[in-house]
Structures are given as C-alpha cells and as structure tokens.
C-alpha cells in the first residue's frame, strides 16, 4: 500500500471511528440525560469532528 493511500485510509478510519463514537455518545446522552456530557462535552468535540470530515472529503481522490 502506498504511503499516501495508507495516510488517506488512516484518516478515513479516524474520521469514521470519531463519527461513530460521537453518534453513540449523543444517543447515550439522549437516552440517559447526564450520562455522557459531564465526562465528554460533545459540543466542544464537534468542531474537531467537522475538521476531520472536511479533511477526509478534501483528501478523497
């Protein structure tokens, strides 16, 4: 696997795992209020997720 291809796929995995984690935590907070937010502030995390999504889209061939 080429290095550029590896880095791109690695970025995809990071982005996908972060998105899945974000959704799982958001659903958890929705179902049991107060279960996630005190430990992880999802609002603060959201911009980083958007950056990751942007980079993934930009890096797609």
């Amino acid at each position: 696997m080429e290095l550029s291809q590896f880095l791109r796929r690695f970025l995809y995995h990071i982005t996908a795992a972060s998105c899945v984690l974000f959704v799982v935590l958001a659903v958890g907070e929705y179902l049991v209020p107060g279960v996630v937010l005190p430990f992880v502030d999802l609002v603060d995390v959201a911009p980083f997720l958007l950056v990751l999504l942007g980079l993934s889209i930009l890096s797609s061939p």
Partner: protein, 481 residues
Amino acid sequence: MRIPRYVALPLFVIPWVAALVMVVWIIINRFPPNGMFVATTDFTHQSAFINPFLPSERVTSPGAQPEGWLGQRITGDPTYMTARVPGPYDSVTVEMEFRPVHQPLLEFGLVKDAAGLELDLAPFYFEGLVSKSWKRVSNGFVRNGTDASRLLNSDTRGLATWDASATMPLLSDPASPSIETPVSLRGAHDFYLIPSNGLLDVTLQLQDANRSRGGSVAVFRVFRGEDELQREVLDTSGSRDTRMGKVFDHRVTVKQAAPGVYRVAFQSDDDVFIRSIKTTSQHWVVGPRLNFGDVVGYATTTMAGVAWTTSRHVVAETLHAEGQQVVLLGDKKVNVARTHEAFRLDRDDSGSQPVTLSAPKGDIRFVGDGWFALRPEAYFDPKPKRLTDATDLDAEHINGILTSYTAPDELGDGWYRAKQTFTLDPSLDRLRFVLSAPGVLSRVGAVDIRRVNLTYHREALTFSGWIDLVHREIVNAWHRL
C-alpha cells in the same frame, strides 16, 4: 514508499479501539464498580458536577479573590450550590474547606423539594465549640467538668439544642378552669402545653381573611414529645370566598393525657388568623415563631402584640408599613423602620425570668431562641433553648448542648474542613445544597470557601452485579424511547 499490509491493518484498528476504550471509560465512570464517585471543585475552573454558589448578589465571582486566595466568598444568607448526580447512588458526602469571617454559626443541608421549602439542614460550624473548654460526648457537647449525663436530664436550664431533641420533662398541672386569651396570630404556630388533670383541651378561634385566591387549609397535629397522637385537616373557607370569613372554633382535646409536654402544631398559610385561644392548661407557650397579625376587617382598634419570653435573641420582621414600630424586649428596644428586613434584639442581662416583648402596633413576626407566653403566668420552658448565631455560651451559662454536630478539622489560618453526609433519592439527577449563615449580612461577615468535594456512595458491586446495573440502565433507556 510502500506500507506492508500486516502493518497497515493493525494501525487502521487503532482509532476503533480508542473509540471503544472511550465508551468503556465513560461506562466505568458512570457506574464505578467500587460504588464511589468523587467530584471536586476549587472554584477556579468550571466543574461538570458542581456549580458555584448562588444567587450572585450574595456571593462573589468564583476564582481569584481580591485578597489573593482562590475560591468563592459568601456574603449573604442563604446561598445555594447545585450538583449533577453522576448516576444512581445511595448517599453523598459533602466535604468543604471554608473560613468563617465574623460568622459564628453555619448550617449546611440539602433542599429536598423543587419549591425549596423542605430543607434537610444540619449543624456545620459553631465558633463557641472550637474552644478547648468543651468536650464531645455521645449526644452533644458538655463543658469540661460537666458530666455527660447532664444532656439526658430533663431540666432545661443551662442546656441548648442544635438540631436535636431533648429528654421530655414529665409535667402535669392540677385541674383548672378554661381561660380565654384574645390574640391576633397569623398563620402557622406551634403551641406547647402541659396537660391539666390528665386532660389537654385547647380551642382556637380561627378566621380566614381570604386575601389570596382560593380557600385555605389548616392542619392540626398533636404531639407528645416526638410522637404524633392526632392529625386533622380542615378547610377554613370556600374556594371562591373573597371577603373576610366567619370566625369559628376548632377544639383539640386529648383525654387521659399522660404527664409530659404536648405540642399542638397549627399549620396553615398566612391567610388564616387565630383570634383567641381558650385552654384549661395553666402553662402553655408558643414558639419559636410568633407572628402577630393585623386586625383589618376584624376590629376597629389596633391590637398590640405582647408576650413574655426568656428568649435572649429575637429577630423581628414586618411585611407591612403599618407594622413599622419600636419593639421592646425587656430593656432592649429596636426600631423596625423598614419592611421585609430582619431587625435583631439581643439581651445582654443575666436574668433567667421571662421578660416582656412588646410590639404596640402588632402586625410583626418574631423568631426567638426560646418560647413566648401570651399570659405571663402561663410561661414554662418546654425544652432547652435553640442554639443560634447570637448565643453566647458563657454569658448564658450554658453547660451542655444537645446536637449531632461534629467539630470540623482545623486546617490553620482560620480555615476548617467539615463533612456532612446526606441520603439521596435515586430519582434525583440534580442536587441543591443550601448553606445558611444566619445574620451574616447584619454583622458584615462572610464565609470563604476554597474547595468542595462530593463523594457519592453506593454498595460496591461484584462483576455480575455491575453487569446487571448496566443492563438495567440500558433497559430503562430502551423504555424511554
């Protein structure tokens, strides 16, 4: 440059493992297997679990204070702190580091209802007991040289209580004719009476002023010591009445009343007035709250509020301009010159006999550390005086204090660390704590707080118990969908 597949694939798994670890970390924090969760704040950063004290007009902004220390300063009373409960727990221990500044007494507690009326307040700090001349015994504090059994004695002289009950004196009077005392008392009052010839007989003349919308409800509860004997609920007027209601009698009797002190707790809102009290008891008192009402719509002349009390510290407050007046307690007087403001009367004499409390215009509320008789010959002490922020243990010759209070740890430089544990309702996801610093405003005092620790407890779980708990939360969440 090429990356071998056996290197790339494990690297691709890392983000997923990290996400899984994050989920597991949150679950373990939410449901710690050891059954303990600790939240701390030093007021320098925002905490997800503990909010600073409020309201803002009674506290300073959390963080660096002008004198150079870090924390928050309390300057009013009461103040509230909210906390987010991090899961299902049985109890919480609050540990607080604080420094009282010209503030001799603190109480700390939990607000148990949304309206903020039901408080679970507990002793937190009393300056008078920091002295080495007092020692802790099983049910309170006694002066060095005083036997611990003094606290079990029913003689109320030289004793004080602070959030504790005292041994009830077994008192009884001979038969006596019924005597009526005209009064104008407003709202809830506690009456303490000694039975006369084995009979407790008291009749209150009531009137609903119907000043607020809807009829009022009055509740009569009768206690002997701490045991409730009777409870009766009655409507004082119709729900659409808007004019002054009729005066009517309500009689409370306990036949074959054993010797002791009986408490008739009359509970109602301030719309209901007590116009007279008729009882066969020779000794009866009211307190620690005594609210002289007005006579608007009932009589054409003002009824003065007069009582006899051994209270050494009384707080007076009126809600109406007509209640502004000079109030006398023995030879002390204070001009209650503004409405909705507490004015203090503190005796500094050494007398132990009841003195006259006089409010010529009525329409004023008193709260004392003792009790009030509405006939001078009826006075008696139903139990020891309450410990208040104005209590001077030496001047008042107090040798014992019945209390659950535990002296806080001294940390030096005037700082203390105190602890208090509260049982939790598992359905609550937010807690509201209250810190009471009575009189802090009038004495220009303060309470500095530099750290709060909340330790939540529940039983430690086995692995299967822990899985059950998580499973139960998931099922609950599923049902919420």
